[in-house]
């Protein structure tokens, strides 16, 4: 039954890919879609208020500049909201604001689509902060990721000479929000409520309620992951049964997986899209199988106490081991980071898989948009490596890949791993990391490594013993942040999000003007299983070479011993 659920999930999300992928291709090509009669007036109204000329196509520099200014202003707005909680409506318990350092971390986290949480939602935030602050970013940061992927697709697909424009940022963001994210969120939120996810601005005699369903669906759909409650989707009010668990997993993977089809359609060859999907799917399937098999066994600590059977520590009964294991793989290959169980309590091998998924660098489905553009960067690198092997100038869909592009690709792919390793090294080599670490032994190192892997990869899941905020009682009064962890984490998230985005836009700017050479006999094809395997090899090789030593020190050491620490 457990395996059957996993197979069913794979079948359903694969079936969604051509539908949603084709729909998004039409949305981003500016075509009429089913929802145009309903949303068209709202869309035009927004352009009027923003005073944008929807016909104006932007150069990569203008596009990147606008994206940075837009995200920067939202950063300030969110900081302002979170620091003025005493003035908020819907602040039922009169919560104060969090400290400056944890707020810096939280704001950076939500602007970058990470949703790393040092704060506990239900004990620190007003409903207003959750709705008008965080949930807005769940939409907007997701849209920012998607539009970057779309510009890269447009640049690769462009066949017209002399075009330097990548599209209009405002139009792309508005259409993503109105035509893709909002309609699915509205329907999904109501389905979740029908299953028991709460949606209320009041309270009940047994505890606090909240506007949860409206946030739950977009947190999964936009691969954000920030829970309304501290225990995220393990809380029955966020995820009450097997069906909601299934729907929420589908929401996480739907857009990242479908964008591969969008890509295939927009470049005029669906096989290109399916090849990338296939490479992603293979790596995802391996992760799922390993974590499921691992969690069917208990931990050394449980065995030592005479407990037999699956590892149920930190898990909820209703999802079963397979529903928890599948979620663990889905949330870490996509950059969602929502959890339905405590990752810190996974077995050593089961807990290594999320780290390996993060080490793929958001390329296996990945975040909405960010997954596809990272994988396309890997594809450019794979073409380059393949070209070197056969001694030909590498081409990607007829566009010559030259020194400038390859330099940018390498910079774009190394920005995140470098951030992870430097931040982890800085933390563990100094005394400032110790106040954040909960566990002893290799698990303590795993907590730190995981924290920076997760934040730099804009994932947001955690070995949650790691802390950056200490709160004696609910409501932020008398609480203090651990400034080192808050700031280093926040800066890691910002750098590892926006550096690759700007570099990707730079690559798009370089590719868009390139002349297209007709494919010849010697051209390396990028729509074959052979290329899929080369692509997997490139991703695994870079991930392994970068992170193997670090992962050895944490989960691998623990997996090889029954010693308790």
């Amino acid at each position: 039954m457990g395996w059957l659920q996993i197979v069913l999930f794979c079948a359903v999300f694969t079936a969604i890919v051509p539908l949603l992928g084709g729909y998004m291709a039409r949305v981003f090509s500016g075509e009429r879609v089913l929802l145009t009669p309903v949303l068209g007036p709202l869309e035009r109204g927004i352009y009027r208020v923003l005073r944008v000329d929807r016909e104006r196509s932007m150069s990569w520099k203008a596009y990147a500049g606008t994206l940075i200014v837009f995200s920067g202003l939202f950063w300030l707005a969110l900081y302002l909201i979170l620091r003025t909680q005493t003035l908020h409506p819907w602040n039922l318990d009169g919560f104060h604001s969090g400290t400056w350092d944890v707020t810096f971390n939280t704001v950076s986290s939500f602007i970058t689509n990470t949703n790393w949480q040092f704060y506990g939602g239900e004990t620190t935030l007003s409903f207003f902060s959750q709705m008008a602050g965080l949930a807005v970013q769940n939409f907007v940061s997701a849209a920012v990721g998607i539009v970057v992927a779309i510009t890269l697709i447009r640049a690769i697909a462009n066949r017209r000479q002399g075009t330097a424009g990548l599209g209009n940022f405002w139009v792309d963001v508005t259409r993503t929000l109105l035509y893709v994210l909002l309609p699915i969120a509205v329907v999904g939120a109501l389905v979740l409520v029908s299953q028991g996810v709460i949606q209320s601005l009041g309270r009940a005699s047994f505890g606090p309620l909240g506007p949860v369903a409206s946030q739950e669906i977009i947190k999964e759909l936009g691969t954000n992951g920030g829970g309304f409650f501290n225990v995220n989707a393990a809380d029955p009010f966020e995820n009450p049964n097997g069906l909601t668990n299934f729907i929420e997993m589908l929401a996480m993977i739907a857009i990242p997986a479908s964008l591969t089809f969008t890509y295939g359609r927009m470049v005029g060859s669906r096989r290109q899209g399916w090849t990338i999907f296939g490479a992603m799917f293979a790596l995802f399937a391996i992760s799922t199988v390993v974590v499921y098999v691992a969690e069917l066994h208990g931990t050394p600590a449980q065995h030592a106490a005479g407990i037999h059977g699956a590892n149920m520590e930190g898990k909820e009964l209703r999802f079963g081991t397979s529903g928890t294991a599948l979620w663990t793989a889905v949330t870490t290959v996509t950059s969602t980071g929502a959890v339905n169980a405590a990752f810190e309590s996974l077995t050593a091998l089961g807990g290594m898989i999320p780290m390996v998924d993060l080490a793929y660098g958001e390329s296996v489905f990945g975040g909405v948009g960010s997954g596809l553009y990272t994988m396309l960067l890997y594809a450019l690198l794979a073409v380059f490596i393949g070209g070197l092997m056969v001694g030909r100038t590498p081409e990607f869909l007829g566009k010559k890949i030259e020194a400038r592009e390859i330099k940018l690709v390498v910079l774009g792919l190394l920005a995140t791993p470098l951030t992870v390793l430097l931040a982890t090294a800085l933390a563990t080599a100094t005394k400032y990391d110790a106040p954040s670490v909960f566990a002893s032994g290799p698990q303590g190192f795993s907590e730190t490594l995981y924290a920076y892997l997760s934040q730099a990869n804009n994932n947001g899941s955690a070995f949650a013993g790691f802390t950056g905020y200490v709160q004696p009682t609910p409501g932020n009064l008398g609480a203090h942040g651990i400034a080192f962890a808050d700031l280093l984490g926040g800066l890691s998230m910002l750098f590892a999000r926006f550096a690759p985005i700007v570099i990707t836009l730079g690559i798009a700017g370089a590719l868009v003007t390139k002349r297209v050479a007709p494919a010849g006999l010697g051209t390396m094809r990028t729509d074959t299983p052979t290329f899929g395997v080369l692509l997997i090899g490139t991703v695994v090789l870079i991930g392994a070479l970068t992170f193997f030593p670090a992962i050895l020190l944490g989960p691998v050491v623990q997996g090889l011993t029954t010693h308790l620490f």
Binding site: G207, A342, F463, P474
Partner: protein, 215 residues
Amino acid sequence: MTKSLTTSLRAVIVFTLLLGLAYPLAITGIAQVAFPGRADGSPIEQGGRVVGSTLLAHAYRLPVLGADGKPRKAADGTPITKPNPRYFQPRPSATGYAPEATFFANRGPNSAAARAFYAQQVKAYLALERPYDPGLKAAAIPPDAVTTSGSGVDPQISPANAAIQAHRVAAVRRLPLATVRRLIANATQGRSLGLLGQPGVNVTELDLALDREAR
């Protein structure tokens, strides 16, 4: 630059109003009308009074009395309690079953402290159940009974866990075992759509049903 700054400022306001207020408030309005109980935490009403939520565990505990006959308290002032044997007990919780401040227990796989915790849980479970189920061995205890749930308010226990506790509840309440088993069957929630998730026994509903049966 100035242009994108003013456009961005407008966008921040427009998108916050649309996505941060209009969207969640509209969903709240629709949900409150279409799914009144579900949207408000699936409350259980009994005699016109809300007695709990079907989605939250409720633990029935008794105060532990000291030699002076007064309830004993731990060093931090919280009262020391023990399970009330008349009720099925939910899974261990890191948070004292509090839904308003959730957190994970974060017990690692190779943690010595975790082993000590599990050993103590196994001992307590055997002490509670073995008098009514003499053949019970540590190896037969279902893992969910002695490990902390994720949310701290997991409302379910495994059917195997319920089957063991049934002996105690039936004996203490002087109910036929068959009656208790029937109530367990009624409180067992299957997989969603017969396929998704894992069957579990809802302890909150089961304990309320027991009280109704006794009346």
